[in-house]
Symmetry: C2
């Protein structure tokens, strides 16, 4: 499953689309998971990560649930993906130089570094305000 976002990231995006729709209301896990077709307990875990990352806010107890913690326009795809998957690496050696003994002499190391930078920049350019506006690719 290389060069691919995880199902978890996809689910996280769905959760946020739902919460955006709900505006200021608080939504419970069950409601989100059913509407967005995500396994319930997994949804719970994902929302926990999003909460820890400060992307959503939670309230426990009766009438509690989750809601966006900031404007949709200030939540980027990068924020979401890194919240659930951890920092994007592209190649292990980019984050952890000692993972590769060839790193000193490697003539392509800089390519992976640049690729990571460019992918992160790309993901950062989409947020939950412009993500749905973005022109639909015709056919």
């Amino acid at each position: 499953m290389p060069m691919q976002i995880t199902r978890e990231s996809d689910y996280a995006v769905r959760c946020l689309l739902y919460l955006k729709e709900r505006g200021d209301a608080f939504s419970a896990v069950g409601e989100i998971s059913e509407t967005m077709s995500i396994p319930r307990t997994f949804t719970s875990k994902i929302l926990q990560k999003l909460t820890k990352a400060g992307i959503v806010r939670s309230v426990r107890g009766v009438g509690g649930g989750f809601t966006l913690n900031r404007e949709p326009g200030k939540i980027t795809l990068l924020d979401v993906i890194e919240a659930v998957e951890g920092p994007i690496k592209v190649n292990v050696c980019v984050i952890d130089r000692k993972s590769c003994d060839r790193v000193e002499t490697c003539s392509v190391h800089h390519i992976w570094v640049k690729m990571r930078k460019d992918i992160r920049k790309w993901l950062e350019s989409y947020n939950f305000s412009n993500i749905e506006e973005a022109e639909n690719t015709p056919r």
Copy 2:
């Protein structure tokens, strides 16, 4: 291991860097794997894939081995990664629409499609001629 090339792709790139260095000579698996620190039998499998993809050419028997099948400048990173990992997906629904029952109503589907397109274009812009030239990122 999301948004990350596989070790296999990394190994494939190493193989090609080595073969480029060797010019028109044929190199045996053992030689490539030892020099580039790749497990021997795995190297063999990777070279098989690269051969099938037409990126390298092989000759069996005494004095045989592998050599590039075309100019380094005509072998892109995309060619190599897709040769070993298969087509880049970014998200399952991009390649296989029926993998996601939400695809009809999904307001972000087009984002994954665009992301795939842009990543492929990026990878296509690097080949084994310009990949090493590319300015080394200072510090």
